[in-house]
């Protein structure tokens, strides 16, 4: 990724093995803002005026404001020092959607840190005022363009507090990855022959939908399932069995599709979404791997992940 190529001279806060990045004093950059420059000009003007009129009170006010500027610089710097950043979760998204990275910002100190801002270059900033000894979670959004793993780009943590005269910032790199599924494409073609799968248990009464047969009563069977009519016919206690785990199965097959691999992947993605919406058992066949038919959220996630990471090793 282009944003990962970095200037070796640039100091940045990078996450350690625990996924946390700390803002240490040497990593902070600080420069006056536009208002800071304006403030300096104002001070120059006041100083010239004071010299000209030999006005000691003018000197006094000028110097007080100059001191204020210096102190503000230190406080701006201090507003960042010792902050800790960690990456939270980033829910998977479909290509084209905004990936939302959660950034955990913790202030372990006993003073508050207002006016904190996180920003990825070119995106809207996210702001907060941190309380003493508190952790807050901010969400940075990144546009996802293609499927695969989307790393959290480098972002800046900055502040202008307390006077807005100086801007202190740190470049932060956190290890966080958002999984980007392919963009759902056109509908899959109907599969040539719908398959009916059968569970190993057969229809031996483990389901609840379709009547599957009778067997002898065993203690513990629900009274509701006892075939009372058969008892009346003096055929002994019999328990009704129900089946229903037999269901339609379908295979989402890479080889049934035409087009380049990305087009195929996005149609397969649509297929996975449709199938899981209809709660059909489905399997996924890709050149690299094959996922056995199943259903449920976990299976859906596995299939989408396989599609997202298609062609990437690991």
């Amino acid at each position: 990724m282009t944003f990962r190529t970095m200037n070796p001279l640039r100091r940045l806060a990078r996450s350690d093995s625990a996924g946390k990045a700390a803002v240490t004093p040497r990593r902070i950059y600080i420069l006056p803002t536009g208002f800071g420059v304006l403030f300096a000009l104002l001070l120059m003007l006041m100083l010239l005026g004071s010299i000209n009129y030999a006005n000691n009170l003018g000197f006094m006010l000028t110097f007080l404001l100059a001191g204020l500027g210096l102190v503000a610089m230190l406080h701006t710097w201090r507003n960042l020092v010792g902050l800790e950043l960690g990456s939270g979760r980033a829910a998977p998204v479909f290509a084209g959607e905004d990936a939302r990275f959660e950034i955990e910002l913790s202030n372990r100190r006993r003073w508050s840190r207002p006016g904190i801002q996180l920003q990825i270059r070119g995106r809207a900033p996210v702001t907060t005022d941190l309380n003493p000894v508190a952790t807050e979670v901010l969400t940075l959004t990144v546009g996802s363009t293609r499927r695969g793993r989307l790393p959290l780009p480098r972002f800046t943590l900055s502040t202008r507090y307390p006077l807005g005269l100086f801007n202190a910032w740190v470049y932060v790199e956190l290890d966080a990855i958002c999984l980007v599924f392919p963009k759902p494409g056109k509908r899959m073609p109907e599969s040539p022959a719908p398959e009916y799968g059968q569970s190993q248990m057969g229809d031996r009464g483990v389901g609840a939908d379709d009547f599957a047969g009778l067997r002898h009563y065993r203690p513990g069977d629900s009274p509701r399932h006892i075939n009372w009519k058969a008892l009346a016919r003096e055929q002994g206690l019999q328990t009704k069995l129900f089946g229903g785990d037999r269901a339609e199965k379908c295979w989402l097959d890479w080889y049934n599709l035409a087009g380049d691999s990305e087009q195929r992947l996005s149609r397969l993605c649509r297929g996975v979404l449709d199938a899981s919406a209809q709660d059909i058992q489905f399997g996924l066949k890709l050149p690299e791997c094959e996922l056995k038919p199943a259903r449920g959220q976990r299976h859906r996630l596995e299939c989408l992940t396989a599609l997202a990471l298609f062609g990437e090793s690991g």
Binding site: G88, E104, E136
Partner: protein, 317 residues
């Protein structure tokens, strides 16, 4: 002088506790941690939830505790057709006396083992859980107090098994601890296989404590010294659980109280009258595991993972 006699008292109690743990260890093999947690839970006057597969010794553990502590003991097997009256008892018309008599249910005993609690319908579950909370049972408008001490050990199958009614979160909160027994290690299993039947051994066991001693021990839990430093640590844990995005929801103040109480019992069980951060860490997975939920739904043993994450994330101040 007074302090001195208090200290002597402590020593005696320590001996009793040691014996208790040792005796129990001879019956339940390789489950030292679970056993100690169960005892701590009892000393902290809390109810215990054991979650594990059938056949790992849940029932034996409950039986053993009853035996060792000299409590009377009843077992309720929860099934899908269990009715609330089967637990709390019902009023029966006595034709000879011409009046209604209350026949107390199995819940009227000092130690109740509620086996496979998640097999029963929510209605039946809540009958027991209400009794746990209120320490009394109300049938037909009359309240009947439950015996003292009253201690419930509920067992539960892992949630993903078929045909279960998992306990709702608010009900889970009523259990001070949730422990998992797990399989014994190979050495203990060998002993188990070669040795006597555990149930027979149980019958031969003499109680280690009488009721007064148990009560005294329970009272002593409250006297364990809690320093500012430990309170800081406790609060840091709670605060972290509330702020970290790993957790779906932070720990409630009630969870904090439960944590502190069970940690004190644990300290007492280890023969100490001061609370250490280690005590909190020891009981944390059991006390907090069933109250924490991950934001990323990982399913099985998430409680333990989260508890470990919590412990490792918060430095001891």
């Amino acid at each position: 002088m007074l302090r001195r006699s208090g200290a002597d008292n402590h020593v005696i109690m320590n001996n009793i506790l040691d014996r208790l743990v040792n005796e129990a260890g001879t019956i339940i093999l390789g489950k030292e941690l679970a056993l100690r947690l169960a005892l701590a839970c009892l000393l902290a006057r809390g109810h215990l939830l054991i979650e594990d597969l059938p056949g790992v010794g849940k029932t034996t553990l409950a039986h053993l505790l009853a035996r060792l502590l000299g409590l009377n003991y009843q077992r309720i097997q929860f099934t899908s057709d269990l009715l609330p009256a089967d637990i709390v008892g019902n009023t029966v018309y006595n034709r000879e006396e011409g009046s209604f008599n209350f026949h107390p249910g199995p819940v009227f005993s000092q130690l109740v083992l509620a086996d496979e609690i998640n097999r029963a319908t929510p209605k039946a579950q809540s009958a027991l859980l209400e009794a746990m909370e209120e320490q009394q049972v109300t049938v037909d408008g009359t309240s009947y107090p439950l015996p003292k001490p009253f201690f419930v050990i509920a067992t539960q199958n892992p949630a993903h098994q078929i045909g279960t009614f998992p306990l709702p979160e608010s009900q889970l909160d009523r259990f001070l601890m949730r422990v998992e027994l797990g399989y014994p290690d190979s050495r203990s299993e060998r002993l188990l296989l070669t040795g006597h039947d555990r149930r027979d051994l149980l019958l031969g066991l003499e109680p280690c404590l009488n009721q007064e001693q148990l009560q005294a021990l329970q009272n002593q839990v409250g006297e364990v010294h809690v320093s500012e430093a430990v309170l800081d640590y406790c609060q840091a844990l709670l605060a972290f659980s509330r702020s970290s995005p790993r957790f779906h929801r932070g720990l409630s103040p009630r969870a904090g109280l439960a944590l502190l109480r069970s940690a004190k019992a644990w300290a007492l069980l280890s023969g100490r009258f001061q609370l250490l951060p280690e005590d909190i860490q020891a009981v944390l997975p059991a006390t907090v595991g069933h109250r924490l939920h991950s934001t990323t739904d990982t399913g099985a043993d998430e409680g333990a993972t989260l508890a470990r994450f919590l412990i490792e994330s918060v430095p001891i101040p």
